[in-house]
């Protein structure tokens, strides 16, 4: 048997409530969905995320999707996304971000960008030649996906040093990435 999902949720909730600095592994779509929903729920101000394309297959899993919608409904909370591919601009998750941008009158709290070649190389340089996906929540929580196909990741609810490293990388890559709209990337 695999760990039951409910038990896994309870375990993660205990860690997040205790602000545990424990590093943990996270693998498989259902388990990734649970972790992301918990991270979204406990984020107070900002999320910075680098991913393949904000693909719907994971994001649209009910738990993750509901948590994301709740997060987006809280005005003022930031979500900055860098995508590696613009293949999914017509899919629901990205469309939801573009709509939210409009609703917020492009106040900069929601931003989506397409990574540049230079940015891609910066990420590979950092991660020993791997193009790992990652998401940073506030200043202390993160999930780093080292095997995106199988949703294999490491994460923690309280590792400010690791988060600082990922934040810095994100900011550097974000600055040299092009804004993405529902019509595709806008060349800078």
């Amino acid at each position: 048997m695999c760990t039951p999902l409910e038990e896994y949720r309870t375990y993660l909730n205990k860690l997040v409530e205790a602000k545990s600095p424990l590093l943990f592994s996270n693998g498989g779509k259902d388990y990734a969905s649970i972790l992301m929903s918990i991270l979204l729920k406990h984020t107070k101000k900002s999320i910075h995320m680098f991913c393949e394309g904000f693909k719907p297959d994971l994001i649209k899993s009910p738990e993750y999707w509901n948590a994301l919608k709740k997060y987006l409904n809280q005005k003022g909370k930031e979500l900055h996304v860098i995508v590696n591919s613009e293949d999914y601009v017509t899919e629901e998750p990205l469309k939801a971000l573009f709509e939210e941008q409009k609703k917020r009158e492009f106040d900069g709290t929601i931003q989506v960008r397409l990574i540049s070649e230079k940015g891609r190389n910066m990420i590979k340089d950092q991660f020993n030649d791997a193009l790992n996906n990652f998401a940073v929540f506030d200043d202390d929580m993160y999930r780093l996906e080292y095997d995106p196909q199988n949703y294999m990741a490491v994460g923690s609810f309280n590792q400010p040093n690791d988060v600082c490293l990922l934040q810095t990388l994100f900011k550097n890559v974000f600055e040299i990435s092009n804004p993405l709209t529902s019509n595709g990337a806008i060349a800078s």
Binding site: T3, L23, F24, N26, N128, A130, N150, V154, D162
Partner: protein
Amino acid sequence: MEPLPADTNLYLQGFAPLIQLWAGICLLFFYEPLLNGFPFKSLSDEVKSLYEGFLNQFNGLIPKDTISPEEYVKDHWSNHFVPTVKCVASMCFFYSVFILAFIGIEGNPKYGGGYYPALQVMDTIVCIYIVAAIVFYRYKIFHGFSSSTILFIILLIYFHSHFKINDFCCNYYVLGPILDLSQITIYTVFTCISGVILVCVRLLIIWIVLQGQKRSVNKIYRDFQIFANYNLGKIKRDALPENKYSRIMKRCNEKFKRGEIIVIDANAFQDAMKEEIAKEYRDFTNRWWIKLY
């Protein structure tokens, strides 16, 4: 007239208060709520939570066919160990009460001294029974009061018929006393307290096994931290701490030598890590000393 030489033998009479005390202690073990609230019960809970934490913390890196935490610890306390403690305690209680009764007739030359060789046989049977109960605690025969009561009745019959049995056996063997009176006394006192001592030894073994499991988990966590740092890029590929991470690197190097991988890259490293944690999981559930739970 010369005074008679003093009798230097040890008699059970001198140990009566101690045997009474042990009988009382054994009686306490009949009370199940006390056993369930026993400080050592927390060991079983700790093992369960260690196992649960391990499964959850290394989610995705552990083989899918794991056993549930309930399954993992179910043999260890309420289902098996508590009934075994009751069985052992009841045997020691019955035997201690019997010895206390025997002390009452000990001074009588007709009934007392002559029965000492019988005690020697009974002590041996009780000790074997208690050791068997502690070792084979999973077997239902060693749960509760049934087998101890039956054995005690058999022992009483044996005691009652000791002389007849001895006479009968003497036709074939000489069943004389192997130990002297003092030794039989010490042996009997030990038999009365052996149950509680062996239960404590058993608990000590559980505690040692738990510490071994904790060390094992801490070790895999240290490896996992390096793995996470590698994925975060905090450790560069050519700066992997080979000495600290020898098992993973050894796995990678062996694959490299066998030509299964061309380069020790992030994927090779991940696979090795996954294999290592899967192995750790198997060890966690299959180590020989886990059977000592």
